[in-house]
């Protein structure tokens, strides 16, 4: 195992990675922008390096500055967290060229999966179900209209290089498609530097369910434990239901999915492992699927070649520390558990606490005057902030992830409601009130919900 790691990220995920590093006796190095000097993760790391001004392009997206910081601080490995440079194959390759260990899949697998059109075509060839859609970038509106006629309305318009729901919208007919295409293209250029657009059939009553995978390295590194053999297998460690979304971005997740029965689950886990094996995937990754509730069927959406924001729910039900497995795999050592004997126990929820109001979900930066985290049986809080910190407009609005584990879904819901009640934040507006309403809503409690749940809760039919 390497003895030191630099975390190329900020906020709750930097803190999360540092926590596991400390438990394993690995020295941690944080990097921070001028806006983040006071955040808890900077103080908790064994060392911290300032890397630039607040703007992400000058700090957390500045690959050369991060690699220089790693070398300066004597870090042997780089963990990218999620977002920023986590899915950038050029950065991963630059890390390896600098003689450092990249904690993630190979730059080749990242590149294959990073482009949604390429990933879709690759999965279709490998026999993983994909939805009807375009197989090459849609160049202009005329091509988009022609493609939509073939696929059939409604269609979903997406940026091929995109993520986080940015630039994504559904179109019910040609007029809406024209507007959606223009928006998607301008956002794709602006946020991802790549104007390629794809169209897919839009499923009306869909759930968004993803599978956690863990690719074990092929070949004989380490291997002192006979059970945890390094053999190129891709393990599927259960699913997460991410159907509670606003603006196509996740707000709450749970596992197991209340909308997926045993037969469908078995097919989805097998398809996710197949997807990983197709690109010889190594390390932690997530295969996202769209589940058609009425047809009890699923299609491949995309693959995230990194640790996922909502990974804690999988950790809570399996008892596996996914960051620890990432470290072990990057170091060429066997994973810490018996790959054939992963058991899932109980039910887990994650509620994303955002600095945004609970009605319109508009951002609300500001100084945090008061911050009290809930505690109790089954409660885990992964927080990026504390009292006295300033939430700035430069980064995403995630303040903390409130996670709960219960013996069953009913107990998890009960514990979640009490924990939301006990979470006190003053200063920036937060969506804690929204979470209280979500947990009390008949539709969420029934488990029979889909990706339009939040719109229905807010009395808004638009999607």
């Amino acid at each position: 195992m390497f003895s030191s790691v630099l975390v190329a990220n900020r906020g709750e995920i930097a803190r999360r990675v540092i926590t596991t590093a400390r438990r394993l006796g690995i020295r941690s190095v944080a990097v921070y922008s001028e806006a983040d000097a006071d955040l808890p993760y900077v103080a908790e790391a064994d060392a911290a390096v300032a890397i630039g001004p607040a703007a992400p392009a000058s700090s957390y997206l500045n690959g050369p500055a991060i690699i220089a910081a790693a070398i300066q601080a004597g870090a042997q490995a780089i963990h990218p967290g999620y977002g920023f440079l986590a899915e950038n194959p050029e950065f991963a390759a630059a890390v390896e060229s600098a003689g450092l260990i990249w904690i993630g899949p190979s730059p080749e697998s990242m590149a294959q999966m990073g482009d949604k059109i390429n990933a879709r075509n690759l999965m279709e060839a490998a026999g993983v179900p994909v939805s009807a859609g375009t197989r090459e970038p849609v160049a202009d509106i005329a091509a988009a209209l022609a493609a939509a006629d073939q696929i059939g309305y409604p269609v979903m318009v997406k940026a091929s290089a995109g993520g986080g729901g940015i630039g994504m919208s559904a179109a019910a007919g040609p007029a809406e498609l024209t507007a959606a295409f223009e928006t998607a293209r301008s956002r794709a250029e602006r946020f991802f530097g790549n104007p390629a657009i794809l169209l897919e059939r839009y499923v009306q009553r869909a759930r968004h369910v993803e599978v956690q995978i863990l690719g074990l390295p092929a070949g004989g590194h380490g291997g002192s434990s006979p059970g945890a053999s390094a053999d190129g297998r891709v393990l599927a460690l259960g699913e997460r239901d991410c159907s509670v979304q606003r603006r196509h971005q996740k707000v709450a997740e749970e596992t197991p999915s209340p909308g997926v029965g045993p037969a469908l689950r078995a097919r989805m886990l097998a398809a996710a492992a197949q997807a990983g094996e197709t690109v010889q995937y190594i390390g932690a990754g997530t295969v996202e699927f769209l589940v058609d509730v009425s047809a009890e069927d699923f299609t491949f959406l995309e693959m995230n070649t990194r640790l996922q924001v909502e990974h804690p729910v999988t950790e809570l039900v399996t008892g596996i520390d996914l960051v620890e497995q990432q470290f072990l795999i990057a170091a060429g050592e066997p994973v810490s558990f018996e790959p054939g004997q992963v058991a899932s126990s109980g039910h887990a929820l994650e509620l994303r606490v955002y600095a945004e109001d609970s009605r319109r979900f508009l951002p609300s930066p500001g100084l945090i005057a008061e911050w009290v985290e809930p505690s109790g049986p089954g409660v885990r809080v992964d927080a990026g902030y504390t009292a006295g910190n300033r939430v700035t407009p430069f980064y995403d609005p995630l303040l903390a992830k409130l996670c709960v584990h219960g013996a069953d879904r009913a107990q998890a819901l009960e514990r979640a409601a009490a924990a939301v009640d006990g979470f006190v934040v003053s200063g920036p507006k937060t969506n804690l009130q929204f979470h209280a309403e979500l947990l009390a809503s008949a539709e969420f409690r029934s488990g029979d919900y889909d990706t339009s749940l939040v719109d229905r809760l807010r009395g808004d039919s638009g999607g």
């Binding site: 986080g164 940015i166 603006r247 600095a355 945004e356 508009l362 951002p363 609300s364 930066p365 500001g366 700035t392 407009p393 430069f394 980064y395 995403d396 609005p397």
Partner: protein
């Protein structure tokens, strides 16, 4: 006269309207960006845009003046 003010701390991403222009109620004046979200700032009245107090790249605080419509 109507003053348009920022609802939150944000960066000015795009200035859409120009000083001296005639605007209608609901026209987009500028687009702010905060926490990876674009927030259009709309005219809340029809009239002449007599003052545009921000430029692209500016950081505005909650309550800062963005524009004046007369």
């Amino acid at each position: 006269m109507a003053e348009v003010r920022a609802e939150m701390v944000a960066n000015v991403w795009k200035v859409v309207a120009a000083e001296g222009e005639t605007v209608a109620d609901g026209d987009t004046l500028v687009i702010l960006e905060s926490m990876k979200m674009e927030i259009p700032v709309l005219a809340e009245d029809a009239g002449t845009l007599t003052r545009l107090a921000v430029a692209e790249g500016d950081l505005v605080q909650e309550g800062d003046l963005i524009a004046v419509i007369e």
